[in-house]
């Protein structure tokens, strides 16, 4: 074996946490206590809007810098007005710092065209330390039944070609379960389900902050219910239940109740060790 050919053909090394697209695009600079500056990346857009999960991860990172505990145990975001790429200010307000958990609010603000500051998102979260939790697991939850990654559909299989893939799709290695992508061929299952294997495109492994993005990264379950329009999120709550093991995640989303023009999306995320690492629910407009 010679060195040269393997050097040429070797895939790029996976990005490490701290040195990846996701980390660069969620960088938060704390200007003073409670005031944080960010530059939101256009790389996480779906159509004209930035993805709500990406924005939640940015807010989650600001809260991590404002609180004594590192991990979001439970975080809720209310989306007020559309957030665009570019500069934004996050203001954090600590409600309580306890021994094992701490709680804070945050708001993300951008300047409108006339220079006035408008609040885009308001968040409320409780942080703790996932590594300090006991190893006790007594769960009746089981990972979703899904084909292996190689048998799932990636963005490059999209019948509309690369132009049909939203910008955020290039940040992700997303492989949809064939059973939940009939909608892309005009034949939704009408069960309100969406399942996928999910990793970051540059190979960075998941962590609690990237889970906040991952719960909102799949196509809306509305597509599988035969809805074609956009499904804007009103509110999204994520519980991070364990630190994810390295490797691709499985994300399973279900909608039970579409009524009065609103629907809920319940997501579960499973890591490569078959552990339920996050649960989320969002209320969205159909």
């Amino acid at each position: 074996m010679s060195d040269a050919p393997s050097q040429v053909t070797a895939p790029p090394a996976p990005a490490a946490p701290g040195d990846s697209e996701f980390d660069r695009d969620t960088t938060v600079r704390t200007r003073e206590a409670g005031v944080h500056e960010v530059r939101l990346s256009p790389g996480w857009a779906i159509g004209k809007a930035l993805n709500g999960g990406y924005l939640l991860a940015v807010l989650g990172r600001a809260l991590r810098q404002a609180l004594p505990h590192p991990d979001p145990f439970t975080i809720t975001a209310h989306y007020l007005t559309a957030t665009v790429a570019g500069p934004a200010t996050i203001r954090t307000d600590v409600a309580r710092s306890g021994r094992t958990v701490s709680t804070a609010s945050a708001g993300l603000f951008q300047k409108d065209a006339d220079g006035t500051e408008a609040e885009r998102i308001r968040v409320l979260a409780t942080y703790g330390d996932l590594d300090a939790l006991s190893d006790d697991v007594r769960t009746s939850a089981r990972p979703p039944a899904m084909p292996p990654r190689e048998q799932c559909f990636s963005a490059t299989d999209h019948p509309g070609g690369d132009a049909a893939v939203p910008e955020m799709g290039h940040r992700l290695d997303l492989r949809l379960d064939p059973e939940t992508c009939g909608w892309a061929l005009g034949a939704p299952s009408l069960r309100g389900e969406m399942r996928a294997w999910l990793a970051l495109a540059d190979g960075r492994d998941p962590d609690p902050l990237s889970l906040l993005m991952a719960v909102d990264a799949l196509p809306p379950t509305g597509f599988d219910l035969g809805l074609t329009g956009w499904v804007p999120t009103v509110e999204l709550t994520v519980h991070v239940r364990a630190r994810p093991a390295p490797g691709p995640l499985r994300v399973a989303i279900t909608t039970r109740n579409l009524a009065g023009g609103f629907l809920e999306e319940d997501a579960e995320i499973w890591d490569s060790a078959d552990r339920l690492v996050a649960q989320s629910r969002q209320l969205a407009r159909a």
Copy 2:
């Protein structure tokens, strides 16, 4: 038929919204814009602590007074420190008032023994008008399979007698599904389920505010998992999906994942017209 006997034997007329224990005990006086005074009633205690659902209803009422829309579409509470009966101040902060929905934060504060003010609960909510929603319902959710009320267990059936019934139990007409109260006889099902018929004891019909209480009114699912200790709520999110029809509610709660000392409780509330009127999830400490 004579009038006199029927006057003697007639049951008391059911309380109407606005004139019931629940309405009196959630009364909020707005002192100035954004500042509201309440007197929390000891009638909603479970042990020494006031019930988190009752407190959420009080905060929900303050937010209704602070916002242009009447109904909580989605509301999240983080419980910081134990709330006791007596006076409290609620401060509300409106994030955005839109045409169809409006969003605000709120904090509930009480004075500690040394006179300093401590925040007990912080809330984030989006309100709208349930009556303005379309009648469209496309749901795969089905009401829980439960025996009729008469075959369920009420507080008066408690093997420990009336003394074992928490104070809040006297505000409610709660009838537990026999399948989910084996724990009271030392034989929990270990499935993590709790189901009950629920009404207010004085006969007042449910409304969106009382649903905020109802999602947290049953014994914890932890009892059905064989846990015996208290299960304090860290965070509770409620989606009110429709205005409930008059009559008793059915509440079904499940826990899938008890891990690392935390568990989630997912509740669904169904009204007498078989409509899913509320969904909630809470994160609690085991």
